[in-house]
């Protein structure tokens, strides 16, 4: 990247089930808090990019009634209709272009308004799978999990370890939704079954939540903060439709990660990344993500979780915040990862802080079986 862009402020809501707050209030609060955390005014912002979807918000043109709340009045505004991490990516491009200098990024979903799993049924091919009625994000993930387990000899217990790690991590994160400090593998495996082998505790919860992020160009970042978190690399990629891809591999994530690594000059991600925040909507997905991110060879994801490598105190901690299993306010989930990664670098991560983080990875995804992926590499000036 020719120019450098930094994260200079952020905020998130207390993600929870059925938040007793209007969408407008929720968005207003995180936007105002993000600006406050960057110690800038709304007037300083050049462009605002939000993330939400019409189906999930229960309103066509979901951002329409929120422009005022988010602080976009007479600002160059746009909306991405997917995860907030993609909104950050768009805001990054806007700053890199030199046209804008400070961007406010916001993402939110209240899963209590419309069940996101219902919305996932609207994403499948209306001319074929949708007519049979059973394909949704959970059943697709079940196919993915079973295929992965069979192909690489992974057990349900090994997958449950991911839930145990993330949900116990979430217990230390004040913003997380599903906090289970004493969770055991047995409890995970006896939780309610949805689509075998996907259970309540191996899929993400339906959360209400929002978050916001302030990005600034190098010149502006210098004025705003002494602790900028630099975006050193970014990569995004989309796979084809479910029918014509190998759902056992996250090819688009692999490509996105390679692009981001190359940009950031990363050769050995396991050694060079101090912490990773990824959007694992299902427990088994985290193992696929390890492999696609190059933390281990294909099929060896289970080793990392079994050996504790990705534990909070492990060599390569993944999701010390609890990840998407800890809270999944759909369009905010990936953007929260970016915030959590930035917090880790700033040493600002509450009780789930990992010591000595200089470089972190944040991942966002959207679509059935993680069809679309985006990877950010963040770094600090220290080192």
């Amino acid at each position: 990247m020719e120019r450098r862009v930094a994260i200079v402020g952020y905020a998130q809501s207390h993600h929870q089930q059925d938040m007793p707050m209007t969408r407008e209030d929720m968005v207003f609060e995180v936007a105002r808090e993000a600006l406050r955390s960057a110690a800038i005014l709304r007037e300083d912002v050049d462009t605002v990019i939000t993330a939400s979807t019409d189906f999930l918000d229960g309103r066509t043109i979901s951002n329409l009634y929120l422009s005022m709340a988010v602080g976009a009045y007479l600002k160059d505004e746009s909306k991405v209709e997917e995860d907030g991490a993609f909104a950050a990516y768009y805001a990054l491009m806007r700053i890199l272009s030199g046209v804008h200098h400070i961007a406010l990024v916001e993402g939110h979903t209240q899963g209590s308004v419309v069940n996101p799993h219902l919305v996932s049924t609207y994403t499948v091919d209306p001319l074929f799978e949708r007519q049979y009625g059973f394909l949704n994000d959970i059943s697709a993930a079940a196919f993915q999990a079973r295929m992965y387990m069979e192909r690489y000899g992974v057990s349900e217990e090994e997958i449950a370890l991911v839930s145990v790690k993330n949900l116990t991590n979430a217990a230390r994160n004040p913003w997380a939704h599903r906090k289970m400090p004493d969770l055991t593998v047995e409890e995970v495996l006896s939780s309610k079954l949805y689509y075998d082998p996907i259970r309540e505790l191996t899929m993400s919860p339906v959360s209400d939540g929002a978050c916001a992020l302030v990005l600034a160009s190098e010149e502006k970042a210098g004025e705003i903060t002494d602790t900028p978190v630099w975006i050193e690399g970014v990569g995004s990629c989309s796979d084809g439709y479910l029918r014509d891809r190998d759902i056992c591999r996250l090819d688009s994530l692999r490509k996105a990660a390679l692009t981001a690594y190359e940009m950031a000059g990363i050769r050995d991600p396991s050694a060079e990344l101090d912490v990773l925040e990824v959007s694992e909507k299902f427990a088994h997905e985290e193992l696929l993500i390890y492999e696609a991110l190059g933390l281990c060879p294909e099929g060896k994801g289970k080793t990392l979780i079994a050996e504790g490598v990705t534990e909070r105190q492990g060599e390569t901690p993944v999701n010390p915040s609890g990840g998407a299993l800890g809270a999944d306010p759909v369009c905010a989930t990936g953007l929260v990862r970016l915030i959590e990664a930035a917090k880790q670098i700033r040493g600002d991560a509450d009780a789930h802080q990992v010591p000595g983080v200089n470089r972190a990875l944040a991942h966002g995804q959207f679509g059935l079986c993680a069809q679309k992926n985006i990877v950010f590499i963040l770094g600090s000036d220290k080192k």
Binding site: H14, E33, L118, P126, L127, R146, E150, Y195, D244
Partner: protein, 171 residues
């Protein structure tokens, strides 16, 4: 965060249902009509050889445009790539409904096909399902040229082809 936490939940007193009727295009129309004759059609890309089920006129991999002459008929037999047993289903209002008995569902690669199709399974207990087992289509009694003509897939007789643990070749 400070904020007042008073809200009202707003539910519509009247049912508002939006209906859709998606036009299917010519290739898909052929596919659907052929079901009446108990035939499953696909299309073979003339350039890269990938076989799409249902058929389509643009290859998503090499972008060549397959034509009518590339339409291929599939046998109705295939391999189970993956499966699940559903304990619930989602109704139109977004509620999870418990099923009285699990519904078995499969991800199937038909013989010679590139695409994976997702279909209900029948005549099999969840515990007997195995990745790699051979399956075949079961038609409903009277086929009418509708998607519902495919009733489900069931385990086929004969030896089950065991899926190689190696990932398929990518382009």
């Amino acid at each position: 965060m400070s904020s007042p936490s008073k809200i009202v939940l707003t539910r519509a007193p009247l049912p508002v249902v939006a209906g859709f009727r998606w036009s299917v295009g010519e290739m898909m129309e052929r596919f659907i009509k052929a079901l009446a004759e108990r035939r499953i059609l696909g299309v073979r890309c003339p350039q890269c050889g990938y076989v799409y089920v249902p058929p389509r006129w643009r290859c998503g991999r090499c972008y060549a445009p397959p034509g009518e002459e590339n339409i291929a008929e599939l046998s109705g037999k295939g391999t189970l790539l993956s499966y699940t047993a559903a304990a619930v289903e989602i109704d139109g209002a977004g509620n999870f409904k418990e099923l009285s008995s699990p519904k078995t569902l499969g991800a199937i690669k038909l013989e010679g096909a590139g695409s994976t199709i997702f279909m209900p399974l029948g005549e099999v207990k969840p515990g007997d399902l195995k990745v790699g087992m051979a399956v075949e289509v079961v038609w409903r009694e009277e086929t009418k040229g509708e998607l519902a003509d495919i009733k489900y897939f069931k385990p086929a007789k004969g030896s089950a082809e065991i899926l190689s643990p190696k990932a398929p070749r990518r382009r």
